[in-house]
Symmetry: C2
């Protein structure tokens, strides 16, 4: 088979228009459901009130139904006595009629008896046997909800296209409506593809990965209100794939596949889609990154959508393209939902020509959202746990500035506001402390390195920033930066704990590495950490010191080190690079060396402290966190973890 080239990539904003030429994006039919089962369905009919509400003139209060003219001129000083001839409870038909000089007692919700045109509240009366002394006049209609005053027979109460929630159900029930006509749910078959993909629960064979997209898409489509089913993996065989998709089209309205659509993986899905019926493939390739290998076909009034294989690409394209399709088939008009405006936390450069989908983690600061872009490799699934949505960066722009407002399409229906926001450096014990403090599930952690954390505190975006920044001038951790960054008014530094940091090398130290100077050896390749991390800062300080001592230029020293530009983002990744033989040495905490059974040459104890936003010091979650830090339980936990120790002033304010 020849490889398919992507001709004329389609801009994302044109996708729905193109589809609509071949496939009407409107509801697929209607069905009648019982009210209690109508939740989250979309109304397929205008509802006109079949009755008046209230259905009769009813009393708003406990009191006496009167003829208002009987009480003209009545007040505290000039009360009038009326004869009480009957009493009406809610649900009863009044038996008597109010005539001049007479009254009937009524309870809240009771039907107003004939002859009465107002109700005087019980508070303004005094009952004496079968008479009542009234101390207040009333105007006609006072304290009466008249027939149809809330809703009149024939009023349009709910419009076609309304999403039915509990309040619409309550309203319909109150009008006596027991069944409603709703749009039928689109039936969607979801398939995965790829020889490397196996089912969760199965044994993991080398070279294979667990399927993500089948589960991700099926549940996402159901969340949207469709009726979708995961039909498993399509094999790498044209005839079998053709047969499976053709037969599923008999029972489903839409078929969605993921993976197998990039030029590199062959064009089997494309060919099957194109041969399934008329008109065949209508879109092949989107002018967006990621998401280029998206394919959309229409075959005899059924819709076929092939999504990218990388999970986050697949998920973002599903939100961008599939969600509006499903919502229209569901009869939902509003497609602006689940979008918020957010300020970019950092500037973004991108090439011109293609739109970018940029996954972000959101922080809410007052009423404003801040979007932290998530950088990741294509096959990553971890962003699924901490991304909140994505920005669409324009194809005609190559630069977005820090602080610029962008639209964020949310993955969830609601953005959940965490009670504790931690932005900065990361540490394994941090999660343990949060768990012990009972703050799991309400804490948002964004790893941007120590420096990023200081910035987040400066901008008021974080409650707490974990930090282990070494100051070049004083060789002290963290405290000097409070002055240097001018944050004395905005933040306090809470003492955390110490982590031993050093050089991690393979078991047995085969290259005999003794210190950072050995990084300059020609037979040594290192793995470095990304800029902004405390560990990277430490290495650069050590190298600058060395440059000064040796009288060599710092840049020259850096140029000599093999692997200086080989940057990874975590201590664990440093250890993994050494285990896999891609590097001989790297700087990391002792803890990961112990965990992965590697050798370790200590360099120093670094202070892992917590910069706390002063404005957050009163928050329950922050107080709980600091109290937990000071607890004996956490002190013991720290001391019992290899490579960690508790300082005497843990949990105290040190700057």
């Amino acid at each position: 088979m020849s490889r398919k080239i992507f001709h004329s990539l389609v801009p994302v904003e044109d996708v729905l228009k193109i589809i609509e030429k071949y496939y009407p994006l409107k509801p697929l039919g209607t069905e009648e459901v019982d009210l209690l089962n109508a939740i989250n369905r979309v109304l397929a009919e205008d509802i006109y009130a079949p009755i008046d509400h209230p259905p009769f003139d009813r009393s708003d209060v406990d009191g006496y139904a009167v003829y208002s003219k009987d009480l003209y001129g009545v007040d505290e000083i000039h009360p009038r006595v009326l004869k009480v001839i009957d009493k009406v409870e809610p649900g009863e038909m009044p038996k008597a009629i109010v005539k001049p000089g007479k009254t009937i007692e009524v309870a809240t919700g009771a039907m107003i008896p004939k002859g009465a045109d107002a109700v005087v509240m019980i508070e303004y009366t005094e009952r004496i046997g079968d008479s009542v002394k009234v101390y207040k006049s009333v105007v006609p209609g006072e304290n009466i909800s008249t027939t149809g005053s809330d809703i009149s027979l024939g009023d349009l109460v709910l419009q076609k296209g309304t999403i039915i929630t509990s309040k619409e159900i309550g309203l319909l029930a109150g009008l006596g409506i027991k069944k409603v006509k709703v749009y039928r749910k689109p039936k969607i078959a979801v398939f995965s593809t790829g020889n490397e993909v196996i089912e969760p629960g199965a044994e993991l064979i080398p070279g294979k990965i667990y399927d993500v997209n089948g589960y991700l898409l099926t549940t996402m489509l159901n969340e949207l209100g469709a009726s979708s089913e995961f039909l498993g993996k399509l094999p790498d065989n044209y005839d079998v794939v053709y047969e499976k998709i053709a037969s599923s089209l008999k029972n489903y309205d839409i078929v969605i596949t993921s993976g197998g659509t990039s030029a590199g993986l062959g064009d089997l899905i494309y060919k099957v889609f194109d041969n399934m019926g008329k008109p065949g493939v209508i879109i092949h390739g989107l002018l967006v990154k990621p998401g280029k290998p998206t394919v959309i076909a229409v075959a005899d009034n059924k819709l076929l959508i092939g999504l990218p294989g990388f999970p986050l690409s697949c998920y973002m394209i599903a939100h961008l393209i599939v969600k509006p399709i499903i919502l229209r088939l569901l009869g939902v008009k509003e497609i602006d939902t689940r979008t918020v405006k957010a300020k970019l936390s950092t500037r973004i450069r991108k090439p011109l020509g293609r739109s970018w989908l940029l996954p972000v983690s959101l922080i809410k600061q007052g009423e404003e959202y801040i979007a932290y872009p998530i950088t990741m490799k294509s096959g990553s699934i971890s962003p699924l746990s901490y991304s909140d949505g994505f920005a669409i960066l324009d194809r005609s722009r190559d630069l977005y500035l820090e602080g610029e407002i962008v639209d964020i399409i949310l993955f969830d229906k609601e953005y959940r506001i965490p009670s504790l926001v931690i932005i900065g450096s990361n540490d394994v014990l941090l999660y343990r402390i949060i768990n012990e403090a009972g703050l799991a599930g309400e804490t948002k952690i964004i790893n941007v390195g120590s420096l990023g954390g200081w910035n987040a505190i400066k901008n008021g975006e974080a409650d707490i920033a974990p930090t282990h920044l070494l100051d070049e001038d004083t060789l002290e951790y963290n405290t000097p930066f409070i002055k240097k960054t001018g944050l004395s008014d905005k933040a306090v530094l809470i003492r955390g704990y110490d982590r031993r940091i050093g050089i991690v090398v393979a078991k047995g130290n085969p290259k005999n590495i003794r210190n950072v100077e050995d990084f300059l050896r020609d037979d040594v390749t290192i793995v470095n950490r990304t800029k902004g991390s405390g560990t990277r800062t430490l290495l650069d300080i050590l190298l600058k010191k060395m440059a000064k001592e040796k009288g060599i230029k710092y840049e020259e020293i850096i140029g000599k080190i093999h692997g200086y530009t080989y940057e990874v983002k975590t201590h664990t990744a440093v250890a993994k690079a050494i285990i896999h033989g891609r590097a001989d040495a790297g700087i990391a905490i002792e803890y990961v060396a112990r965990i992965f059974n590697l050798d370790f040459i200590p360099l120093s104890w670094e202070h892992f402290d917590f910069l706390v936003n002063k404005a957050s010091m009163g928050k329950r979650s922050v107080k709980t966190f600091i109290e937990m830090l000071r607890s004996d339980k956490i002190k013991a936990l720290i001391n019992n973890t290899p490579g960690y120790r508790t300082p005497h002033d843990i949990g105290e304010i040190i700057g």
Copy 2:
């Protein structure tokens, strides 16, 4: 039975604290569910990664796996030729090993063969038979996602208490996890009470109303994630109610009733709750309006909640009190969700001492919400269709200013942004036009009268304000107000249609009313419209004119008119007041007189026009609306509706 008095009403902010003394607000247990069924459930365990992800070193690109040192110094001018010894596809185990001078072709997602430490992208190579010319050097690790670089074995990936959405399901699937432990759903029995209540679908008997709360609560609780069932209506009989609740407690964790808890309706529910077990009733009455007659009891570790009977009171108290209870039982930590900050559209006076729950309709203006308070009678159900949530007004305050920011608790998970916002006067044909324009379901209509609409345009809150305001000086409709309100820069006036307005009287005009002057007769009672409505303005202008002509003071004339203070909010309500004999005359449009078969004395043709926000003129929805106004279809519709006529310039800009 003696009537129960509400002792020591509980402030709303104390309710959960009091309950927690007797009933732990934490999950009721756990259960294991299959991943595809875990949607919207709450994770009951921390999830630590059982594998590395990716589970092997994998290629991020299509290209050639190389030993990076082989390509030192290689660039466009100094390419190097490597021998291609094998090819690895995704899902395959590499068979060969990369040795110096050799390379293995790899596809995206394929496992990196041993000996290779980087991948050079296919774009920088030229294949020649079984060799490849490489034009670019690579650093160790380039284009490789290393084992565990995304997620390391043992990493905490999801925390206990996380609400599982599709993205968490995708993440768990990718880690090979097939089943997860989630918190059990609380099982809730819902009962209604009240002799006046009958089931929707049943025949409406005089004096009865259809049950709202049973349907409203059951579906609301299910929306929140509980498992609730509506068990019907409780009768007005202590023994039967006791028996029904006692037996439901065997199968349910919580019993919720509504109605029957106010002092006026007897204290049966209170007594049953109090006698059901230890400790009995713990809260009887809340310091909030509405919602005072709320009762909460604990009986042998089961929770019993009695909610108010009026639908909107019941719904608001359920959101305020029951929702946080359910969320805690579900294991959800964040209870800040579904709250937005909004500016009050108007000032609010309230008495000190009790909190107020104020239902509102929300408008989003840029990133800001505006809350329009909804005024209503206690038994109303229509606000269920147009309220978005409610504000809690503080018990220690008696005044809120216009523009003040208040917290709004949303009824829905999401606030749906309508594409068309219409605020102002109301008309039956308006709905028809919106329906014909296909804008139903995406339009929000708030009825605040003509004047309120002008204000909403001034504040930028509405796209369109329907208006029929008569100017006292020129006796022209609408146009003079553009200058008078200083809105020339902000809004344009679009010509709408004409409605005939006049005096509505009973069939046959028994009181022989001929003009507005007859309103002063002692044997005539009128029904008036609320201030700010165009119709009220018309009457007041006519009365002022009359005062001038007769040389009487305007206030004196008003004082003479019986029913001048009897205000209703719609034309229909005017007609209904006359039908029910509460008034002899009122001013309304001819249309309602025809619909209700009443007599009509014409006064004038009023202009029902549309003030349009200039900033909204480019909106699709606004353009569609204006186009529809100009269509022949709508012109015909208007002319065929009794009491309406089409002006020649309908849909044109007239100011």
